[in-house]
Assembly symmetry: C2
Homo-oligomer: 382 residues x 2
Amino acid sequence: MENFDYCTPTQYVFGRGTEDRVGGLSANCLGNKILLCFGEGSVVRSGLLERVKRSLGAAAVEFIEFGGIQPNPTDDRVYEGIDLCRSHGVTGLLAVGGGSVIDTAKAIAGGVPYRGDFWDFWAGKAVMDRALPVGVVLTIAAAGSEGSGNSVITKIDGAKKVSLRTNVLRPRFSILNPELTMTLPAYQTACGIVDMMAHILERYFSPSADCDVTDRMCEGALKAIVDIAPRVIETPDDYQARANIMWSGTVAHNGICGVGRIEDWTSHAMEHELSAIYGVAHGAGLSVVFPAWIAYVARIKPDKVLQLGSRVFGVSGVDATVGALKNFNRSISMPVTLGELGIDNPDIDLLVRKLHETKGALIGSYCPTDAHASEAIYRLML
Amino acid sequence: MENFDYCTPTQYVFGRGTEDRVGGLSANCLGNKILLCFGEGSVVRSGLLERVKRSLGAAAVEFIEFGGIQPNPTDDRVYEGIDLCRSHGVTGLLAVGGGSVIDTAKAIAGGVPYRGDFWDFWAGKAVMDRALPVGVVLTIAAAGSEGSGNSVITKIDGAKKVSLRTNVLRPRFSILNPELTMTLPAYQTACGIVDMMAHILERYFSPSADCDVTDRMCEGALKAIVDIAPRVIETPDDYQARANIMWSGTVAHNGICGVGRIEDWTSHAMEHELSAIYGVAHGAGLSVVFPAWIAYVARIKPDKVLQLGSRVFGVSGVDATVGALKNFNRSISMPVTLGELGIDNPDIDLLVRKLHETKGALIGSYCPTDAHASEAIYRLML
């Protein structure tokens, strides 16, 4: 185990009907004038946004609406939100939606009190030391942004998809009602499941030895996800299955699965290029990337791959482990090749070049990945 | 899964040498005049207290020493500490030690801003809504008080050992350096291991169904503890083994193993009577109580017992599960009968009477325990 600092101050408010507490929580944590961030309309159609507004109104919290945030959120909306917050004297942000909405709200929250270009933080040119407070009403179990300090934004100029992580951006509260995820299409549900598994695996594959308790807790969460996923796909309104998947998505990314070790994140970096260039859904992209990455690193450092296979999938050997992960992904109708992902003629040279432009010559920690290796991994996705 | 609110705001500062950061953390979180709480001398002999004082001095944090806190801490020291804090205008408390020191510091912290008798909170006559901030430098991996909102105090009059849990008492920071636990005697180390396993098991045995992800994470932590315990007993200065046990003790009790379910806590209540009447070490008492409790409840609700056996100990059947837990406890030289605990002629009538006087007619949630049942469980410890 490595030395670590770990703090998760987010108040999780979990269960049926909990969105009715959003007004009171916002008044306590976000101040009296908030930017109400949401996506492209499902929260309007479902009536959730109306209920949230009612709760805010009852708590005398004023709000400015900021809707239409899209998947793989982009910097243009962040600049727009920052201007809006400044001109209205906003005191905090409430994100009603999934990872894209939350990540956009976080980026705006960090940008408002900063004099320079908010992208400085994502470009590594400045360190964020404060942000407006952010609250969350989660509607998609996937990104884990409701419990993390992460925000992934795509810069339109150059199609750069970059993740920032800072404790400053951890939400003050996150309302998690599994009922709100019951109407998600099976495809989005499955994308979320792959994403949360990837968040655990990026931490599980680490050069840090002797992390037995963190390993075992990761394996426990992975096993629970693998067991429950079929239920949630087959019976979308199974509350308990939705509840377990929702909480898994949060623990997958709030840091508890990463304490005491250096994390990897190569697969996410490789997927971010697929999303940035081909516009694929993040979870679907990870469904293709992760088995390929595991197959490649197993040639060099097989031990952890074998451990994953035996403890989570109950199989022996590298091929069986990669096969089990692919089979699981296929079982929830996720792609495992670039072709199945809809990328018939991938420009691997471009992917490799952009990957290393963004992330440097060597990526990750478990098996530091150079351009030669990343090319080989992309080819394993064919 | 039940609805839940969950928040762990404690900043964990984990690893080698981290106690050198205590001055800066105290200045940030506890104010400029603190009550420095510690135990009976091991922190003096080891030089730790001196290092802590040096770090506090360097950060210009003034301190009043409050030493000599004993295991199974009592209300008299709490009253004494409250008076001391009030007369010196103390702004926060720093506990350097294990559970007894931390629990005493927490009780003082809650008592200082309250006009009435601090015991009102433990007696359920008042609800704590504020407390002075508490910081921790942990020296014993066991009680989990470094990450919990719990404080267990014994009222000398009537020998009542009572636990209070409130988020108000969660430490602001906890410094966890596994090196500080290397000099612990094997007996205390083993007591701590039993205690942390019990903290997980009290949450694992729950009437709440469908907590797959929490179950799996509990099982993961238990499995890690079972695997690592022999290493830490045989090689007390194995840093990585100590590190894993230390972090296990924290996750066992900071709530992550209990989210989404009603917890049980019958075994702790039964052990608190053993400690209060016979003065036994808490962990050693739990080592006797838990196998007996499991053997009893398995007659009524065997499912979770069987799940524990197969997933954690790799055995089938109730008897094999109880046997595996007893064998594990014996393997780290812990007692599994009242006789081995040094109680040759237990007054079971007194134990049962005091238990239900303190906790009411029915205790726990997995198999609510009446006086008839608790008598049977105490008899299983003979």
